[in-house]
Amino acid sequence: MTPDWGRLKIDRVIVHEVPKARASQVANTPLTLSQIESPLPDDVRTYLQERLRAVLTAGARDVVENPTAGSPVPAAVRGYLQGSPTTFVAMSQQLAGHLRASQTGVNPGGLLMAVDCELVKERALSIVKLEHERGVRAQTTTISGKATYDVTYLKDLLFGSKTRVFKVGLFTTTAAAKTLLTGAVVDKQLTGAAVAEFFLHRFLGCQLAEDAAVTTQRFFLQTQDFINTHVEDPAQKSRYEVALLAEMQSARNQLSVTVFADDYLEPEDRDNFVSHMTSNGVPPATFDKSVVLIEGQLGSVSIDFARRVKVIAPRDTLEDGTVTMDSTEDGRTRLQVVDEVRSVKGRASPGRRRTHPGDQTRASDES
């Protein structure tokens, strides 16, 4: 179940600077480690709180500790949340040290922020990697007695409301008590396999809790379940099913429940769809698409009728209007095929051979 990120409350924050690591033969710029927590005036606390709530809501993925990663972070997080004597400051310094150790020359520098917080009244620790952003600031001023704006170039902005350069991990006390640490991670780069390696694997020592193929299969099956249980209009069902198959076979290598809802569903169906998917274990955040487990189900649409008529139609025939479905006045469904008949054959009724064991005996006798 997705946590209520709107119940996240920040208590303490500490920030360390972790500059970009240089190539191995050049000495690294040293870390700038804080020795005490950052002062946290109310406007800063509530702003950071809002940003964390927003990014976690939009993009949190379930992760689990990967013991083979060799990262000290899970142990440090577990120890801190379970009340080890290590202080918040010391623990966060350890995290900063390991962030530096995890960086290669391609990873940008930035700040590591450790956030002592509460999620629905449960103690939690959030680890945030932020990168500096650039911008300008305009302030009114007077030059030679004339009003103007003094525009200043700033290159140390952090965590703006539209920023995409951050990575967040969050772990709760309950999750820390498990054999393997579990938590949530937001990383815009999480869906690209190689870049995800740095923050999730090398630094946090975690991996996604579920394989992309399994998540994709769940997305596919749950979308079909939604179409069959929530959508009444046959034409709509057909459109949605075709959209699902098209999305699965598209060149896009990521899937998102909300994007699918916005792109293909009618406005009145979108919330029900998102709610159906998330309550059935499909993450609301974007994830990698891998169709290996459902490849065999993507070519055609299978339509089963109450009186045992079954139609299997290639996806393109539903798209080009060769096969159409709509409702009749009495609430039943009319399926229409406009094409040339190639052949008509007799066929055993479904299940007939199994219900008459004698048929099987005769078949084997004849062979």
Partner: protein, 320 residues
Amino acid sequence: MTLEAARDRFIRERERFVRAAQVVEVTVQREAARRHLKCHVEGRAKDVPSFIKKALVKHYEDPWTEITDKAGVRVVAEHIGDLDDLVEVVKDTHCVLREEGKNLAPNELGYSGIHLQVLAPVEDDDDPDEPVEVEVQVRTAAQDLWSRTSHSLLYKPLLEAPASVARSLYRLQALMELFDHEVQRAVEEISAHPEYEKAQLLRAAESLFHVFVAADYNQELSLEVLTVAVDAIGGEDFAGYADRLAEFVEQNATKLSDIYEDYGPLSEQGRDGSYLLIGQPESIVLFELLNRTPRLLWNNWRERFDDGLLQPLADVWGAQ
């Protein structure tokens, strides 16, 4: 039964009538509230002197049987348009023995409240063989005022009322009817106002909002924002939505309280205007919609407003 025997019995059993009146009062009150009918409900058992007085004034031969309002409940509607619905409330919740109401002729003035004789729901300690009858009077506030006034002037005084008093009361009946129908006309006119639905919604939101925030707000902005909210609420009738809103607030009281404390109009953040809508009562409605149908709300929102107004609410709520 003689008056003396009836008096003794009433003294002995009066407590049953007190309880019966209370039970009917609470039953009608709850059902009327569930149907969103505004009314004042009041139950009572007759006191012993009134019981005797009525028997004497009316010259009853069998006062125990003939005095049918030993337990009585008054249901006073805010306006005449609700009378029929309130009568239905009584009928749907009780076994009705009799119903009395006057259909006045075009050239006739008079009291037209409706009286229903019902059986009080049986309680554990009641005698199921003789359930208690309760007289339920359903009337408007004007009818109630006239009825109580005329009762005290015509039936209670020791002196015979002069004809001029009867004439005054007769004239007051015209005023009573005028009052009721003018109120009804005003109610219908207000209900037909294009902004009525939004105003009702704002009133419901405001009373919930003020539980968390003690600050004034921009009413004009509220009505503009609620245009989108009303669209997103869709076909749900206002009364049903008001219930949903109250339930939402009850279930999310802690979260809402934290949000208004951190981002409300009196907070550090709220004072600089970044969270403008959190300082407005319609934020309660927007939070409810962000929680239940965020995509539909966004879809409607973008047809009228910029994302920037709603986004801070979505962010602090943690809405998908």
